[in-house]
C-alpha cells in the first residue's frame, strides 16, 4: 500500500485538535439528589459493566477520533499499487530497403533452402513475434525503406490472419532505409498506445547516426541475415557520344566485400553480347573503365558482373544511348532572328516558319505565335508572344509602359515585380531583365503566373485543355532578353515543358527511375498512341491523347516508351529503372550491417527472437480506497449522530 499524498497526514493535527477540544471541554455536571442511596445499586450495576460504561462514556470521542483518522487517511490517498493487464501496441517494423534482398538470410528460420533473403527471414521472424502476442494486443506491421508503409494492423486474435497476410505482402523497395524518418512515423503509431513497443527487424544497413530521436517506448532491434559483406555492384554505367559522335561507355564496378572479387564483366548492346572480360576487384575497391568502339546505332547497353554474391540485382546496370525526341515546332509571325535561333537550338526541335497569312495548322507539336494569334486555337501546344490587341484568345485591355503618376513621378508599369518558382525559369536568372513595354492582360483561369509586373502578368503558363500554353505578354524586342544567356534556356524550357520533356535537363540525357516509381509520359500532340516496353519485353499500348503514368516498373532495366503517329514512330525514349539510386550507389551497394545499427534500441541486453516482445502488457495502477473510506466516514458520522441524539 502506498500513500499518494503523504502530506495529507499533516491533517493528523486535526485529530489532536479533536482530542484537545475533548480534554478541554467541561467535565461531568454536578447534580444534587435527595439521596444517593437508591443510586448505589445502579452504580454497582454500572461498575459491573465498567468497560462498557467506559466505552459508552467515551464513544463520541472514540467515534470522532476514528472518523478524523479515517478522514486523514483518506486525504493521504491510500492506494494499493498493482499492475493491470493492458493490451500492448506492438509495431513490427520490417526493413524493406534494397539491402534486404541480400541472400544471407538464416534458412533455419524460414525452413527453406539456401539463398534465403534477409527479407524472407525478417518476415519469418515477424510471424514468430505475432505468435507471441496475446489476446487484446494490437499489432501494426510497417514496411520501412525511404518511407514507411503500413502493411497491416489489427488486434489479436481476430486480425491475426490479416496481420500475417500483411507481413507476406511486404516487398523490397529500391531505396535506402531512412531510419530517422521511420522512427518518427513509428512514434506516431505508438502515441495513442498505453503500452507501446517497437520491434525493428532489419538487416542493419542504415545510418543510425541520423536517428537522433527515439520514440518514448521500448525499441528493440532484431537483426536478420548473417551480416556478410560479400557484394559487388555495377555502380555506374553511362553512355554518351563524344564530339565526333562516337559512343563512350563509362563503367564502374565496386567490390564492397572484404575479399578480392574476380568474375566476368559482360556488356550487351541491344540485347546482344558485345564484350566480356574477366576482372578482379580488390576488397573495398572499384574497377573503372571507359569503353569505346560500340556500334554507332547502339540504343541500349547493359553491363553485368557475373560473380555470385549477396545481391545479384545490383550486378546488372543498364544505360540507354541518349537520343533526342523529335518535336515539330511551327513559328508564325516571327519577328526576330534571335527567337528563331533559340528555337532551332533546342535539341530535337524541327522548326518550320510561316507567315500569318499562310498559317496552316497541321502536323506540329508546338505552335509559336509572335504578335499574332489565329482565330481558333491551334491543334497542339502553343506559345503566344506579344498577344495582339484583338483576335486573340488572350484578352488585352491596355498596354504597359512608362507613364507619369499623379504626383509627377515617372514609372514603368511593365517592370518586373514578381518572379515565381516555375519550371520555365529553371536555370534562368531573371533578375536584371527589363521590360519596357507590354500588354495588359487578365490572367486566364487556366493559367498561373511565372513573371509579373506590379499589377499584370508578364509571363504565364497553363493548361487551356487539351493542350498546354505559355504566354509572353511583351514584345521580345522591348526587353533585354536577347542579350542574356538565359534567353535560349528560357525558350528551351518553354518547349520542353510544353512537350512533356524534363525541364532544366537536356532532352538527350538518360532518364533514370527507381523500380516501382511511376513513369510519366506526356505524349506529343501528334501522337496517336504510346507503347511502353518493359525489361522483360512485355508491351503496353495507350492512347496518345492524354498524359499517362505507367506504374509497372518493378523490374530494374530499360523501359522503352515509343510514341506513334499512326504507324509512324515519332518519338522514342528509354527510361532506365536502376536498383541503385543515382548518387547513392556506393551506400546502397554496401550490404554489411552498420556497427551502430543496434544503438537505436532502447532496451538493453541481447534478446533472443522468441523473447523479443517484452512480456505481457501491464501498466502500474493504483486502487484508491476513497469509496470504502468515504462510506466508513459516513457510517461513523451517522452512528455518532445517532448516539448523540438517542
Amino acid at each position: 500500500m502506498t500513500l499518494l499524498s503523504p502530506w495529507g497526514l499533516i491533517w493528523l493535527l486535526a485529530v489532536a485538535a479533536v482530542l484537545g477540544v475533548y480534554l478541554l471541554r467541561p467535565r461531568s455536571r454536578r447534580v444534587e439528589v435527595s439521596s444517593i442511596w437508591l443510586w448505589q445499586g445502579v452504580l454497582k450495576e454500572e461498575s459491573a459493566r465498567s468497560w462498557i460504561q467506559w466505552l459508552k462514556r467515551h464513544l463520541l470521542l472514540i467515534l470522532q477520533v476514528l472518523v478524523a483518522l479515517v478522514a486523514v487517511f483518506l486525504l493521504a490517498r491510500p492506494a494499493l499499487s498493482r499492475t493491470v493487464p493492458v493490451g500492448r501496441t506492438v509495431v513490427l517494423a520490417i526493413d524493406a530497403s534494397e539491402p534486404m534482398l541480400a541472400n544471407d538470410g538464416n534458412p533455419a528460420v524460414v525452413g527453406g533452402a539456401t539463398g534465403v533473403t534477409r527479407l524472407q527471414e525478417a518476415k519469418a521472424r515477424a510471424h514468430e513475434l505475432i505468435a507471441q502476442l496475446e489476446p487484446g494486443d494490437r499489432a501494426i506491421i510497417a514496411a520501412m525503406a525511404d518511407r514507411v508503409e503500413i502493411a497491416a494492423q489489427g488486434s489479436l486474435p481476430q486480425d491475426a490472419r490479416a496481420l500475417r497476410t500483411g507481413i507476406d505482402r511486404i516487398q523490397v523497395r529500391p531505396a535506402e532505409l531512412d531510419i530517422a524518418h521511420a522512427l518518427h512515423v513509428l512514434d506516431g503509431l505508438t502515441q495513442t498506445a498505453r503500452v507501446g513497443e517497437i520491434v525493428v527487424i532489419s538487416g542493419g544497413v542504415f545510418d543510425a547516426q541520423q536517428a537522433t530521436y527515439r520514440p518514448p517506448v521500448a525499441i528493440q532491434v532484431l537483426q536478420v541475415g548473417r551480416g556478410e559483406a560479400d557484394n559487388q555492384a555495377v555502380t555506374a554505367l553511362s553512355a554518351r557520344r563524344d564530339t565526333r559522335g562516337d559512343l563512350q561507355v563509362f563503367t564502374r564496378v565496386r567490390n564492397f566485400g572484404d575479399q578480392p572479387a574476380t568474375g566476368p564483366l559482360r556488356f550487351t548492346v541491344d540485347g546482344q553480347l558485345y564484350h566480356e572480360q574477366q576482372i578482379t576487384i580488390p576488397p573495398q575497391n572499384s574497377w573503372e573503365s571507359v569503353l569505346t568502339e560500340f556500334p554507332p546505332d547502339a540504343a541500349l547497353i547493359q553491363a553485368t558482373f557475373g560473380r555470385r554474391d549477396l545481391l545479384m540485382l545490383d550486378n546488372l546496370a543498364t544505360a540507354s544511348v541518349p537520343s533526342p525526341v523529335a518535336r515539330r515546332v511551327l513559328l508564325v509571325g516571327g519577328r526576330t532572328e534571335q527567337l528563331e535561333r533559340a528555337l532551332r537550338a533546342v535539341p530535337g526541335v524541327d522548326l518550320t516558319k510561316q507567315e500569318p497569312q499562310a498559317y496552316a495548322p497541321a502536323g506540329f507539336d508546338v505552335y509559336v505565335f509572335e504578335g499574332w494569334f489565329p482565330p481558333e486555337p491551334p491543334p497542339g501546344h502553343w506559345v503566344l508572344i506579344d498577344p495582339p490587341t484583338n483576335g486573340s484568345t488572350i484578352a488585352v485591355s491596355n498596354t504597359l509602359g512608362r507613364r507619369t503618376t499623379d504626383r509627377g513621378r515617372e514609372i514603368n508599369e511593365a517592370q518586373v515585380a514578381r518572379i515565381l518558382p516555375s519550371p520555365l525559369l529553371t536555370g534562368v536568372d531573371f533578375t536584371g531583365i527589363t521590360v519596357t513595354e507590354g500588354k495588359r492582360v487578365s490572367l486566364p483561369e487556366w493559367a498561373e503566373e511565372v513573371v509579373s509586373a506590379r499589377d499584370a502578368p508578364l509571363i504565364f503558363m497553363g493548361y487551356p485543355r487539351p493542350y498546354r500554353a505559355v504566354v509572353y505578354t511583351f514584345d521580345l524586342r522591348s526587353t533585354n532578353l536577347f542579350g542574356r544567356i538565359g534567353f535560349p534556356i528560357l525558350i528551351a524550357n518553354t518547349i520542353n515543358w510544353l512537350t512533356g520533356e524534363p525541364v532544366g535537363q537536356a532532352s538527350t540525357e538518360e532518364r533514370t527511375i527507381v523500380p516501382g516509381a511511376a513513369l510519366q509520359v506526356q505524349p506529343l500532340p501528334r501522337a496517336t498512341h504510346v507503347q511502353v516496353e518493359t525489361p522483360d519485353k512485355r508491351t503496353y499500348r495507350f492512347d496518345g491523347n492524354s498524359a499517362l503514368r505507367f506504374l509497372d516498373t518493378v523490374l530494374p532495366g530499360a523501359y522503352t516508351v515509343t510514341q506513334f503517329a499512326g504507324s509512324e514512330a515519332i518519338a522514342r525514349r528509354v527510361h532506365v529503372a536502376s536498383v541503385l539510386q543515382p548518387g547513392r550507389e556506393m551506400a546502397m551497394g554496401d550490404l554489411k550491417p552498420r556497427a551502430d545499427a543496434a544503438h537505436i534500441s532502447t532496451v538493453s541486453g541481447p534478446q533472443a527472437a522468441q523473447f523479443l516482445i517484452l512480456g505481457p502488457g501491464a501498466e502500474p495502477a493504483h486502487s484508491e480506497w476513497w469509496r470504502f473510506l468515504g462510506v466508513l466516514i459516513l457510517g461513523g458520522l451517522i452512528v455518532e449522530w445517532w448516539w448523540f441524539h438517542r
Binding site: 467535565r27 461531568s28 455536571r29 454536578r30 447534580v31 444534587e32 439528589v33 435527595s34 439521596s35 444517593i36 442511596w37 437508591l38 443510586w39 448505589q40 445499586g41 445502579v42 452504580l43 450495576e45 454500572e46 460504561q53 459508552k56 462514556r57 438517542r646
Partner: protein, 310 residues
C-alpha cells in the same frame, strides 16, 4: 375551589392569621373541616371526644345488651325487649372518646429537595391533616424529626389552636440526616398515649421501616405517607454527572443514559413495592404520594379512596 401549587404561597382570606397565608386559603380550610380521619381501631382515650371508645359509656351509639344486675341504672333498661322476652336487659352504649393523631414529619435534608419541594409539601400535608383532626375534636401532636425529634408541638385539642398548628408546621426546617428507626423507637417510648401515627417521610433511610414496629408495638395505628418528587421518580439528568447526596454530601459519578435511568427506575419501583408489601404485612396503611399531586386531589380523592379520611 383550587388548591394553590405547593411551591407558591397560597392566598389567605382577609383577616386570616399569618400562618394561614403560608398554607391554605379559607375555602380550602372550609373543605378540610368536612373531612374526618378514619381510624381503623378504637383506642382508649383519657378524654371524651367524638370517636367510639372501647369503654361502654353514655353516648347515644348502641353497643350491646346485658342482663340487668342490681345497681344498674334503671333508665338503661330496654323495656321493648322486656316486653318481648320478659327479661330485663340493659342497653350498653359506647363511650365516645377523642383520637390522638400523631403527625410525624421527616425534616431531613433529603426532604428539602424536588421540583415541588418535599418538605414544603409535607408541611402543608401535616397542617391539613392536623387541622382535619382538630376539627373532629381529636388531639393532635406534630413532631418534626431528622436523626431525632427536633421539634414537637404539644398536644392540641381544639380548633382554636389551629394557628399554633399552622405556625408549627410552617416553621419546620430541614436539618441533618434521617435515622427513622431510632426516631420512631424513641417517639414510641416517650409517648404514653397511642393513637394514629401519620408518618410523612421520603423513607430515604435504609432500614428505617423497622422503626414502624416500635410504634405498632406501642399500639399506634400507623399511616405511612411516602413522599416522592418527580425528580426522584423520573430523573432528568443525562450524560456525565456527579450525584451529590443532599443529606451527607457524598458523591458518586455516573454516566446517565437511558439504560442507567431504566435501572434506577426499576430499582425505585422495586423499593416502593417492597415497602408497600412490608406495610401490608404489618397492617400499616401506606400511600405513595407524589409531590406533583395537588394537595386537594390527595386529600379529597386519594385519601378518601384509601380510607385515610372520610
Amino acid at each position: 375551589m383550587a388548591v394553590a401549587p405547593a411551591a407558591e404561597a397560597p392566598r389567605a382570606p382577609t383577616g386570616a392569621p399569618a400562618a394561614y397565608r403560608h398554607l391554605f386559603d379559607e375555602a380550602f380550610m372550609r373543605r378540610l373541616e368536612r373531612l374526618q380521619l378514619i381510624s381503623q381501631r378504637m383506642h382508649g382515650a383519657a378524654s371524651h371526644g367524638g370517636r367510639r371508645s372501647k369503654k361502654r359509656g353514655t353516648s347515644v351509639e348502641f353497643a350491646d345488651y346485658r342482663e340487668y344486675t342490681r345497681g344498674d341504672d334503671l333508665r338503661q333498661i330496654d323495656w321493648n325487649v322486656y316486653g318481648r322476652s320478659e327479661r330485663l336487659y340493659v342497653k350498653l352504649r359506647e363511650d365516645e372518646e377523642s383520637l390522638t393523631v400523631h403527625v410525624l414529619v421527616d425534616c431531613s435534608r433529603s426532604m428539602d429537595f424536588g421540583r415541588h419541594n418535599k418538605l414544603a409539601y409535607a408541611r402543608r400535608l401535616a397542617a391539613a391533616l392536623g387541622y382535619v383532626a382538630l376539627c373532629n375534636q381529636d388531639q393532635v401532636e406534630v413532631s418534626g424529626f431528622g436523626e431525632r425529634v427536633i421539634s414537637r408541638l404539644p398536644s392540641l385539642r381544639a380548633k382554636a389552636q389551629t394557628n399554633r398548628l399552622f405556625t408549627f408546621c410552617s416553621d419546620l426546617r430541614p436539618a441533618g440526616a434521617t435515622d427513622l428507626k431510632a426516631v420512631l423507637r424513641s417517639y414510641a417510648s416517650m409517648n404514653r398515649r397511642s393513637g394514629m401515627a401519620i408518618l410523612i417521610t421520603d423513607l430515604l433511610n435504609p432500614g428505617g421501616l423497622e422503626g414502624l414496629a416500635s410504634l405498632q408495638d406501642r399500639g399506634y395505628e400507623v399511616v405511612l405517607l411516602h413522599l416522592l418528587d418527580p425528580l426522584e421518580t423520573d430523573p432528568e439528568a443525562l450524560g456525565e454527572v456527579e450525584l451529590r447526596d443532599r443529606e451527607d454530601g457524598n458523591m458518586v459519578r455516573l454516566s446517565l443514559d437511558a439504560m442507567t435511568l431504566d435501572a434506577y427506575r426499576h430499582r425505585l419501583n422495586t423499593w416502593i413495592e417492597e415497602t408497600e408489601t412490608f406495610c401490608f404485612k404489618r397492617q400499616v396503611r401506606y400511600v405513595a404520594v407524589s409531590t406533583a399531586t395537588p394537595l386537594e386531589d390527595l386529600l379529597f380523592r386519594q385519601f378518601r379512596a384509601r380510607r385515610i379520611v372520610t
